[in-house]
């Protein structure tokens, strides 16, 4: 620990003008990384990836060894199969964990700064409102990807190394799956992160943000359920944002089995537009709030 003199020296170092959002991003990650609650939520969130990891190991061992005691069982149980659909279900089932983790890391991202009057200090430094907002959004998205896309990559890697005939060339076979996992993770994580950040930018406290976001999701899905029940048309479920996200996942992974709608009537473009427009509205709300703080 160096001993510093009790004087005030001029600063002679250099200033880094670019990628200021990285500072905001890294500070956010550093802050919630130290939190016990975050660590606990993250551990809960990686329970499914751990189970899937053992599923991959067990499936590949059993499938490659006809004499394996578990081979007959694994062959008959279809949901133990390791294929593209497994990755779809893996990411889909991560949704509750993602929502809870994102609520924890994102609900206070902006409102805590405003409540603690930190905006006045941060924006008196040479950063743009968009550096600040990009840093916050990317940090929240990163938490989401840490429970969806990153475990998918690990599962794919586990699958790759446990294959008997794996070589550097077979890695290429995973590229479509990597892309699909990334797309589905993004469709799930990005609107959720943007919605939470938008809530954080307009509501005064973390608790109110969490309650409001959960209320909006529940109300949205309840409305969709009520409409589809009363009007006897399952396609009204597309109003529900979570269902729309799951549907997009089905499309991304080419799963033809109908889970939510009478699929013959449903337009993928409509649902994609619905998710995109919702995300843009959330982004727009955040931009207005943060820009107002920086520029008046």
């Amino acid at each position: 620990m160096p001993v510093y003199p009790f004087t005030y020296r001029p600063f002679e170092g250099k200033y880094i003008r670019r990628f200021r959002w990285w500072v905001v991003f890294s500070e956010e990650v550093r802050l919630w990384n130290k939190s016990r609650v975050f660590q606990l939520l993250f551990l809960l969130g990686i329970i499914q990836p751990l189970i899937r990891f053992f599923q991959v190991l067990a499936y590949n061992s059993a499938m490659q060894d006809p004499n394996h005691p578990l081979a007959p069982l694994i062959r008959t149980v279809t949901w133990l199969k390791v294929d593209a659909e497994m990755y779809y279900h893996f990411i889909r089932l991560q949704a509750p964990s993602v929502l809870i983790l994102l609520l924890f890391v994102g609900a206070g991202a902006i409102c805590a700064d405003r409540k603690n009057r930190l905006w006045e200090i941060y924006f008196s430094k040479p950063i743009h409102w968009y550096d600040y907002l990009i840093g916050k959004i990317l940090a929240v998205c990163f938490a989401g990807y840490a429970l969806t896309f990153l475990p998918s990559l690990i599962l794919m890697f586990a699958d790759y190394i446990t294959q008997k005939n794996s070589s550097i060339f077979t890695l290429v076979n995973y590229l479509p799956l990597i892309w699909k996992s990334f797309l589905f993770s993004s469709v799930m994580v990005v609107p959720c992160a943007l919605g939470i950040i938008a809530g954080s930018s307009i509501f005064p406290t973390e608790n109110i943000t969490v309650i409001s976001v959960i209320t909006i999701i529940v109300a949205n899905t309840t409305l969709a359920g009520l409409l589809s029940n009363f009007l006897k048309d399952a396609n009204y479920m597309q109003i529900s944002l979570p269902v729309a996200v799951y549907f997009m996942g089905q499309k991304i992974f080419n799963i033809t089995r109908n889970m939510f709608f009478r699929t013959e009537d449903i337009s993928t473009l409509n649902i994609l537009s619905y998710i995109l427009i919702s995300s843009l509205v959330f982004l727009f709300i955040s931009i207005i709030q943060v820009r107002k703080a920086e520029r008046g």
């Binding site: 005030y8 020296r9 250099k14 880094i16 200021r20 200090i121 941060y122 008196s124 430094k125 008046g296």
Partner: protein
Amino acid sequence: MGYIEVENLTVTYDDFVAIDDISLYIEPGIIGLIGPNGAGKTTLIRTFLGFLRPKKGRITISGLKVPKDILSVRAMVGHMPEKEVVSPKVSGVNFLVYCGRLVGMSYVDALERAHEVLNYVGLQEARYRPMQTYSTGMLQRLKLAQAILHDPKILILDEPTNGLDPDGRLEMLNLIKEIAEQRGVTTILSTHLLPDVQSLCNQVILLRKGKVEYCGSLKELMESRVNQYEITVQEPYEEFLEALSRCEVRYEILPQNKISISLPDGLDYKKVFECARLTSTIIRSFIPASGNLSELFQDSLQG
């Protein structure tokens, strides 16, 4: 050395005019920004920092235009806000490192600088404690530390001695004086505490209802009142007033037998006592009006 030039500046909140067509030039030095509540002090500071957009007029800070070059302006300005700022679970040193990195310092530079500045403001023992455990005085020092962290050319301090005990206030004033004088940082001190301005500043800007009442040297402002006195007399004093009038002394009768007098140039204050002796009037107190910024402030506001 930083300077600020303001030309015909008007800032409004919807229909309310907070700053009304003001022009001023802030020279390097320590400048006191004073005025009653709602005078427009904080609005002016927020406009300097680009948080508010002027409706009309021009601001130039060391040759850079606001809000056009606002990022460069913010890089050379250190701002200490008035209200309490706290990032509850973050330690003082981490908070400063974050502020330093926001300015554009590398992590290593920011960390080194944070330790150095925390030592300088006297928070060396508390640097690793979370900010939620800091007292008001410590938070004030931390706010000053983040403002001077990047070696600004201009320092804008909004009520820096708020909530400090007398010792803490003196230490804060000494720190500000040292930064301003030894490092040549142009310091704008917005405060309600006129003794702070009197002890530190060499320039004063007096704002009232969004207008500049006075902008200039504090010394000149004080000297402008060198021939003014406030006297208390015993009744009757009508003849005494007539005698003063004959000597071209201007006066104003105040409550409780007090009279504010202004002597013409060249007239010695002893002449007042002579008038009292000739009219058999008893003078119970005789106080020079200069030397007290509070009275100047009150006079300016009443005028």
